[in-house]
Assembly symmetry: C2
Homo-oligomer: 327 residues x 2
């Protein structure tokens, strides 16, 4: 080892210099640091991983970065990880690369895995967990109950939307739901129906929109093609809500909120201020921070119990809904 030689000490000494809390005399440390400076030396994290049996790498499996909710969550996750001196291995998932992803995760010996919602994460979470790699699911719960998760209060948020709309005079309310196998979509719909039921109402119509822009536009067309149009549409995320607004305006000549109320979910339209979307916010910052915290705890101590943290959600009223005369 170059540095050890130049500093005139053992490799153990240089290792200890770079190990916080290890016993090294001031003089030795100084010599090592000086030599490192000269050589531009930097401990090799890869080699360290091998002996420590810990890489300091956390896998983040994600997709659909074109959805601002995911890209913002990703940024926050990676930032939180960085603060904890953890590195992020980014894996873009898709139904057909699943196997590759698992083996990448495994072969790079990640210390943990963060799984922002995706419809295929459940199986992967299970695979990792099985091999002793801690996992935390974001915005999604698993069928396997022994996997940690941090979710927003999807049920509560959906219910709040229903109550809010009814209070504003809306009665005929349709719903564009998310991917039918995603727990967050299911919960939002359940909450929405529950809120409506409290007022003796049922949805005017419900169509699946898949959380995508395309899906949202298609669902909107389907809803508006019906005999009787709804007074409002609750969309299971902002991407679909934006698609719905554009479809209303461009294809049906309908104004929002004059002709139709629209509510989204995620509060992810900040970059598109023109929409002024009424939506449900769920503190992404808290979600990300909490998820990283839970993961770090389980990495440090695998006996820490699995937990399910729920972040409260908050309806944000903007300009895609209004108070109806009868409200």
């Amino acid at each position: 080892m170059e540095v050890a030689r130049l500093a005139g000490v053992s490799r153990s000494a240089v290792s200890r210099t770079f190990t916080p809390g290890a016993y090294v005399s001031k003089e030795t440390r100084a010599k090592v640091l000086a030599a490192a400076e000269v050589l531009g030396y930097q401990p090799n994290a890869i080699a360290r991983s091998l002996t420590k049996n810990r890489t300091g790498i956390v896998g983040i499996v994600i997709w659909q970065l074109e959805n601002p909710f995911y890209s913002i969550i990703l940024e926050m996750l990676a930032e939180n990880l960085q603060q904890q001196q953890l590195a992020s291995l980014l894996l873009i998932s898709s139904p057909d690369t699943m196997d590759d992803l698992i083996s990448t995760l495994l072969s790079y010996q990640v210390d943990g895995v963060l799984l922002p919602a995706s419809t295929i994460s459940s199986n992967m979470a299970f695979q990792c967990q099985r091999r002793g790699i801690p996992v935390v699911l974001l915005n999604r719960q698993s069928n396997h109950d022994n996997i940690s998760s941090v979710t927003t209060d999807n049920y509560g948020g959906g219910r709040e939307v229903a109550i809010y709309l009814v209070a504003h005079g809306y009665r005929k309310i349709s719903h564009i739901r998310g991917a039918s196998n995603a727990s967050n979509a299911i919960e939002r719909e359940r909450g929405f129906r529950a809120g409506l039921a409290e007022h003796g109402l049922i949805p005017h119509s419900v169509v699946t929109g898949d959380f995508t822009h395309q899906g949202g536009a298609r669902a909107t067309r389907q809803i508006l093609a019906a005999e009787e149009r709804p007074e409002a549409i609750f969309c299971a995320n902002d991407v679909m809500a934006m698609a719905a607004i554009a479809t209303c305006k461009n294809e049906f000549g309908l104004s929002v909120p004059e002709d139709l109320g629209i509510v989204g979910y995620d509060n992810a339209s900040a970059a598109s201020p023109l929409y002024r979307l009424t939506t449900v916010d769920h503190n992404n910052e808290e979600m990300a921070a909490k998820a990283v915290k839970m993961l770090v705890e389980r990495i440090a101590d695998s006996s820490v119990p699995v937990r399910h943290h729920v972040v409260p959600s908050l309806l944000i009223e903007r300009s895609t809904t209004r108070l109806l005369p009868n409200g």
Copy 2:
């Protein structure tokens, strides 16, 4: 090594089984594969890195994922890397974490670095390059001429916007430029001015907007507060263009394109279809693919020369501009 024992062969044999193109007999390979299957064995990429002196990890340093241009580029980059069997280490940059990022990159022995535009990337690129780590800059050129880059034709795009607007009858055209130290912003403005000059025009006014939503809104206010308002505003990216449209409408009661034409840059408003933004597209897919290709080539052979690839750009006409009566 577990697998070797179970398969009844040497560790060399198992290594060779997992090394494409190595000499192993069919029988040996079969025995190893069977044992691996039983044990759930997966070669340890970390250990391999140590001997191969190559990690298969590429660092991606990025920020502002709330800008859809960056998040989409990131997704494409990571996908392309995955296809090449390379892993992505994601680093979120910010002015004050620069040093940490460099040392993370170095300590994890990344094989290469991808630097999507950011105003601080130049120095980092230089640091990496200096230590023999290939770098390719995206959408940004370096002052240090010996660093590869793939950029869009920012000059040509800016010029095309000017020519297009003039051809449609616009004369008094303002510009909201990007961060003043970003090469892409500078080139777009240069091209824009050149295009105007070809028609004997100069910009009505030019304000710096920093590429952010906030900056775009602020710049728009400043431009519209002037005595004489422009007939159109060319914004150096779509995020600012969307901010400009919202500001026009919400704060000044101006309609686009009736009262004012707006042109963006990046074609990054797909998620916000309501805007129907006239903008400049620069084939992100090609940019990402090319950047990864160039990086991979230099990783494989460090004697490959530095290159600067320019992706052509294309003006996309939508509905935030129109043909003026005099056009």
